[in-house]
Every structure is written in structure tokens, then in C-alpha cells.
Symmetry: C2
Subunit: 447 residues, 2 copies
């Protein structure tokens, strides 16, 4: 029987980060990583395989990222185990004994109970090169492509499919706008218009009722009765935590939210930690369960799980913030924390500030993005920053990261309005027109 100090199940963002953290901070400990796929894909890179990278093999995380630290990497699927004996059993029959176990087994695409979902050329987005290649082959043959779901994954997949000449791409979204769960409505509308400008057929307030066809998909039928011709369908409406193994092992599990962990990423078993999409999360803003699943959170949780295995000074997760960025056409859209919509859903009273201006100064420079926009959102009860959005040029993603860091730092509206930031003619708005400060100053006036 093999044995190691730390056994990590899953070798995507959380698992690799966890293994590397064990080797970085407890270098005397041995680490084994097991994954159930031959190669680890870059999860957020999947859409870009189709329109820009044009090759599934270009979206692989090199194994050296996992093994460079000294961790060993194996391909096998964990199927069972015994937490008292501290043993995990694999599909191959192999058994591995551990001292600490880290579960980073990820999530799987949520598939709605749509009639016809098993037809040929109907796909979900799996982090698996084989499935990614099947999608690529189907896309290449398809003329009419329907994407069900207008969140980040649906929008990015749709945009990339549409970059391939000769494709008619339709995105079907239930809500009034695409991306509405991730960003403010006016930002979502700008993003949606970029999709439409590119020639994508965006159907909002629209839900799929059935996928029609005999053997292969032929159309998607909407609740309205409308039928959209489809040679291929991609369903991208969210992901669910992989909890079956944890449940079988006897760990405390919330079937909907994931494996239960404390703030140090420890499960109900003192020698088992969990991190990433498979682990339940609480919101940084409300302290309540939060269904957010992001590679950027997974990698931080993995880091903490790995660090905490043998640390006397454990690091605590402060809660999931949710920070996103994407690029649609030539424009960046990014957000962190709560939207005003989430405030309403969670009964959080808020006030906001906005600022629109050029991303360089003076505005006489060439290539200025004049309508670079930032919104910041504060909680009325304590004036703390709880969310924000940025859209514009490349810098917008890091503006959202400034907002994300300031949320996590517990910044108040006065703190944010008076933060000192680097400004430069060729790089940012002016000192008098730096978007984040100006938006906060406006919020201070609006409260």
C-alpha cells in the first residue's frame, strides 16, 4: 500500500495550490495528488479554445505546475475509503494511506431536466480534454449553435463560437439580461450590446422548454413556443459541487452547497480538509452560505488548506467575495462582491456612487476609452464597501481587484474616497478623475 503525509484528491486550481502550499511551508512532508482525468485543463480558458486558441492542447496546465514543488501526480479516481484507517481506495484497486487528506474534487455542470438533453450534439462544459475535443468537432460541423444560459460561461462560449466564420450563434437567457447575476444591470446591458454588435442572436427573458431532434439535436424550443434551429447545443447554466465521495466517507455534507468546512478549510473530520468548488462557502458580505464557485477562490482555499495541514498559525478564510472579469469584444467587464440586486435579495440596505470618464488623461490622447465606468456599493449600516463594477480597457480588471481588496480590508466610503492611487497620463484617469475615488466621493454625497 502506498502512503504519504498529504493526499490530495483533485489536481485543478484548488488541488495544485494545496499540494504546492504543503511543499512550500512544510517541505519535509510528502504529497500525492490524484486526478481522474489524463490532463488538467485551464478551466476558465475553455471558451477560448474554440475561437482564439483553436487547439484543446493549448489549454492545458503543465503538470510541472503541480509537480515542480516536489508533489507526486497520479491519474486515478478515488472511489471509496475509510477515514478511521486513513485510507483512500481508487478505481484501479490501488489504496493509499494518508496522514492528512485534502478533498479538491471540484464540481460538475448542472444539467436541467430538459427533454432531449441526451440527444447527440448536446453538451455541457466539462473540464475534460475529451469532451472539449468532442465539442470542437461538433462546432466545426455545426451551422446553427444554441447556447442555453447567458452567464459568464455561456456568454464566453457563445462569443468564441461566433468568432468561427459561418456560425449562427444564439444565446438563450432566462433573466432580462445576460450576466445579470454577476454585474450591475447597466454594465450587463453594455456587455450584451457587445454580443449583439458581434452578430450574436441574444434572446433574453427566454427559457428553453425542450431540445428537439430524433437522434441528433435539431432545434431548441422556448417556453414561448419559438423553435431555434440547432445543429449543436451547449448548456451552461451553472455547476454543482462533487460531494458523493465525501458523503460516502461519512463527512458532513450539504448536498446543494458542498462539503462542510470551517474557516480553516477543515471538514467534520480533523484530518480531512476540503477546498475549491467541492467545499461549501459562506459570503464575506453576509456570513451566510454562498453558492459562488470560482477558480480564483478555489486557488486561495487550496493554498489555505495546504498551509493549514501542519501549521500552528493557521490562516482563516474570511468568506467568499466573488471577483470576476471578462472581455467581450474589445471591452473589459469586471466586478467584485455584491451587486445592488444581491443587496435587495439579501435585505442589505445600500447606497452607491458612480463615475464615468476617460481611462487616460488628458483625453486628447489616441485610443482613450472615454466611457470607462466604475460603480461602488456601500452598506448603509456601517458605510462599508460591499461591491463594485468596472468596465473599460484592460485596466478595468485590476480596478475590480482594487475594489475586491478594499472590500476584504473592510474599507469604508471615506477610506475609499481618500485612498492614494497611482495615476498617469498614459495609464489612468487624472488624479481628479480617478474612477474609484471619484465614485466613492459621489457615494459619500449620496448616502
Amino acid at each position: 500500500m502506498k502512503s504519504c503525509d498529504v493526499l490530495v484528491l483533485g489536481a485543478s486550481a484548488a488541488g495544485i495550490a494545496a499540494g504546492n502550499a504543503v511543499k512550500a511551508y512544510h517541505p519535509e512532508k510528502s504529497v500525492m495528488l490524484f486526478r481522474n482525468v489524463e490532463k488538467t485543463v485551464v478551466p476558465c480558458g475553455i471558451p477560448y479554445v474554440y475561437g482564439e486558441l483553436k487547439d484543446v492542447e493549448k489549454d492545458i496546465i503543465p503538470d510541472g505546475h503541480a509537480t515542480g514543488s516536489g508533489a507526486e501526480l497520479f491519474t486515478d479516481e478515488a472511489v471509496d475509503g475509510d477515514l478511521k484507517e486513513k485510507v483512500i481506495k481508487f478505481a484501479s484497486g490501488e489504496e493509499v494511506k494518508y496522514d492528512k487528506l485534502i478533498l479538491s474534487v471540484g464540481s460538475h455542470p448542472f444539467v436541467p431536466p430538459l427533454p432531449g438533453r441526451d440527444l447527440k450534439n448536446v453538451f455541457t462544459v466539462k473540464k475534460d480534454v475529451k469532451v472539449m475535443q468532442e465539442i470542437f468537432d461538433a462546432v466545426n460541423k455545426a451551422k446553427n449553435i444554441v447556447v442555453i444560459g447567458g452567464g459568464f460561461i455561456g456568454v464566453e462560449m457563445g462569443e468564441q463560437f461566433n468568432k468561427i466564420p459561418g456560425k449562427n450563434v444564439t444565446i438563450v437567457e432566462m433573466l432580462p439580461h445576460c450576466l445579470l447575476l454577476a454585474m450591475e444591470e447597466e454594465f450587463a446591458v453594455m456587455a450584451e450590446n457587445k454580443l449583439k454588435d458581434a452578430g450574436i442572436n441574444v434572446l433574453t427573458n427566454a427559457s428553453a422548454k425542450a431540445i428537439n431532434g430524433t437522434d441528433t439535436v435539431e432545434s431548441v424550443e422556448l417556453a414561448s413556443g419559438e423553435k431555434i434551429p440547432a445543429d449543436m447545443v451547449l448548456i451552461g447554466i451553472g455547476a454543482a459541487a462533487n460531494v458523493d465521495l465525501a458523503k460516502n466517507l461519512g463527512l458532513e455534507v450539504d448536498m446543494k452547497m458542498g462539503i462542510q468546512v470551517d474557516k480553516f478549510m477543515q471538514t467534520s473530520d480533523p484530518d480531512v480538509l476540503a477546498a475549491g468548488d467541492c467545499a461549501a462557502k459562506v459570503s464575506f458580505i453576509t456570513g451566510k452560505p454562498a453558492p459562488v464557485r470560482l477558480a480564483s477562490i478555489a486557488s486561495e482555499e487550496g493554498f489555505m488548506a495546504g498551509y493549514n495541514t501542519y501549521a500552528s498559525d493557521k490562516i482563516a478564510m474570511k468568506g467568499a467575495v466573488g471577483a470576476f472579469g471578462t472581455k467581450i469584444g474589445d471591452r473589459v467587464f469586471a466586478a467584485a462582491g455584491f451587486t445592488t440586486g444581491m443587496c435587495k435579495m439579501n435585505d442589505v440596505e445600500y447606497y452607491e456612487g458612480n463615475f464615468v470618464g476617460p481611462d487616460r488623461h488628458p483625453a486628447a490622447f489616441d485610443d482613450v476609452t472615454m466611457d470607462t465606468k466604475v460603480k461602488v456599493i456601500f452598506r448603509k449600516s456601517d458605510d462599508k464597501l460591499i461591491g463594485g463594477d468596472a468596465t473599460g480597457n484592460l485596466q478595468a480588471v485590476e480596478m475590480a481587484n482594487v475594489i475586491s481588496a478594499c472590500i476584504q480590508a473592510g474599507y469604508t466610503v471615506k477610506d475609499l474616497a481618500t485612498t492614494q492611487f497611482a495615476t498617469h497620463p498614459k495609464l489612468t484617469g487624472s488624479p481628479l478623475g480617478y474612477h474609484i475615488c471619484q465614485a466613492a466621493e459621489n457615494a459619500l454625497r449620496n448616502r
Copy 2:
């Protein structure tokens, strides 16, 4: 005699911000702004007038930025006054009575006692359209241009002069590298190499001993004896606070550092505030006097001074951090807080972490800046973030802004290593290779 509630002297970054803040938060108060120039230039935009904007008039802050809030704007120079009578006298003979006075009278270029500094075609960088135009006329006629001083202003002016065809540009810097007071040595070397790649003659460890010529400048003589031919010389070695008026009015002044203010920007007179380059500053990191002068600090101080005039909940300045960004050639260099050099000068024990990687992921994308680099610096005594540098594509400036905000938030190395940031294939390094977190993780290992 004119009178107003708030009289603001100086209408650049600090003055405009101050006037706007009074009108925003105390809208019933009247505001008068006086400047001693006909137009307000964008101070950090001055270098770009020469190579890219090609027109002094494109580097003007529109007066509407100052008057849009309801403040009145005048051109006149304050020459004297009486703080007991609360009156300021102007060069025109006009007198204005105030309730609150805000001094935002800026700084002037420091001119070293160099023989020949009064020769024709020897300039300093003044925030004055007339001087800017004189420099433009001289540049257009010059073949050999020497810039004395390789800090931000010297480097940016030199780079822009060099963009005009047919100019031989030399930068003379006393220290071993350009920009060494603002950023880490390895970043400064990269920046310096960009200048050399563009064909600029960069002389380091070199100091000017004299400027030679009869009526007009002919050469710059170095301490080594070498003579550099020069049809034009620009001296850019720093700025000194304008304190004469404040001293004459009887305010407490440090002749070297500026007008003395408390953390609420109040001077030694309870009804007089000061903000921007003319006001003395203390370092956020050490609490000691700091000679940093930046438009981005000026605008924050101006905002606070304006807000605090009539506020019961005054906002306190937490100290100057110093956050910079610039672009040299196609590359961005940015920094915030202390460098390791400043740590040594101030006897601050520190440790650091570095990370180099692509600015997008997977690295198979086109146009990836593979050597995007971040350094973060922590104080040994309390593990707090006290400085950092970023270089790469456009995002690098906002990475420095993330670092700046985290310094001001009092982040520790563990906080920074586990901060959640937005990552995206087309916009940032991967979740496992996001520079700021990775650099902090490496610092955590190095301490």
C-alpha cells in the same frame, strides 16, 4: 471688497479638488479659486505635450472641472494678507475676505547652483503654458538635448523629446540607475534598458558640473570632465514647496518640507488649511516627514481639506504612501510605498517576495507579456505590507494600485497571500499564477 466662505489659493490638483469638495459636501458655502496662471495645465501630462500630443493646448485642465461645482475661478496672484482680519491681498490690488482659507499654492522646480543655469535654452519644468511653449520652440530647433535628472520627470521628458525625429537625447543621472528613488533596482534597470533601446544616451553615476555656453547653452560638463554637446538643457531634479506666502502670513512653515499641517490638513491657524505640494507630509510607513510630492496625493489632500472646512466628521490623512506609474516604450512600470532602498535608509527591517509570469493564461495567447513581474515588501516587525512594484502591460498600474490600497489597509503578508482577486484568461495571470498573491506567498516563505 469681495468676500466668500472658502477662499482657495491655487487651482491645480489640490485646489480644484478642494473647491469641488466644499461645493459637494457643503453646497451652501461660496467658493472662490484664485490661480496665478491663465490656464491650469495637467501637470503629469507635460512630458507628453512634446512627443505625442504635439500641442501645449491639449494639456489643459478645462476650467469647467473647477467651476462645474459652482466655485468661481479667477486669475490673480496672492501676495499678502492678514489672518486676523481674514483677508488676502492680490497682485492686482484686489482684496478678498474669507471665512476659511485653503492654501494649495503648489511647488516650484528645484534648481541646483550649477554655473550656466541662466543661459538661454536652459529650462526647468514649470506648470505654465508659456514656459511649456518656450520649451517646445527650443526643442523643435535643437539637435542635441540634455536632460539633467533621471527621475520620473527627466525620464518622461527625455523619452518624449526622443520621439521627435532628428533629436539626440542624453539623460544625466547621478545615481547608478534612472528611477532608483522610485522603484526597485531590477525594475529601474528594465526601464533604463527601454530608454536605451529607444536610442537615448543614458549616462548614470554622472553628475553635471556646469552648463557651458556664451549667450546660449552649448554643452553640459560632467564631473568626469566629459562635455556633452547641447542646444537645449532641461533640468528636472525635483521640486520645492511654495511656502513664502504662508510664511509671510505667519503660519508655521518648514522651509524644506512645506506648510505645517495636522492630519486634518489644518495649519497653525484654525481657519486656514493647506493641501498638495505646498503642504508638509508625513510618511504612511514611518510617520516621519516625507518629501514626496504627487498630484495623486495633492488631489486627496485637497479633497480632505475641502471636506473638512465645515465638517463635524472630519477625514484624517493617514500619511503619504507614494504610488507611481509610468510607461516607457511599450512597458508599464509602477510602484507604491517603500522600496528596499528606502527600508535601508530608514532602518526598517523587511523581507520580500517576487513573482514573474505571463499577464494572461494560458500563455498560448497572442500578445502575452511573459515577464510581467511583481515584488512585494513586508516589514519584519509586524508582517505588514509596506511597498511593492509591478511591471508589464497596462494592468501593471492597477496592480500597483492594489498594492497601494493594501498598504493603506494595513494588510499583512497572510492577508495579501489569501486575497481573492478576479482572474481571467484574456486579462490576468491564472488563479495559480496571479502575481500579487504569488509574490506574497513567496514572501511568506522567505520571512
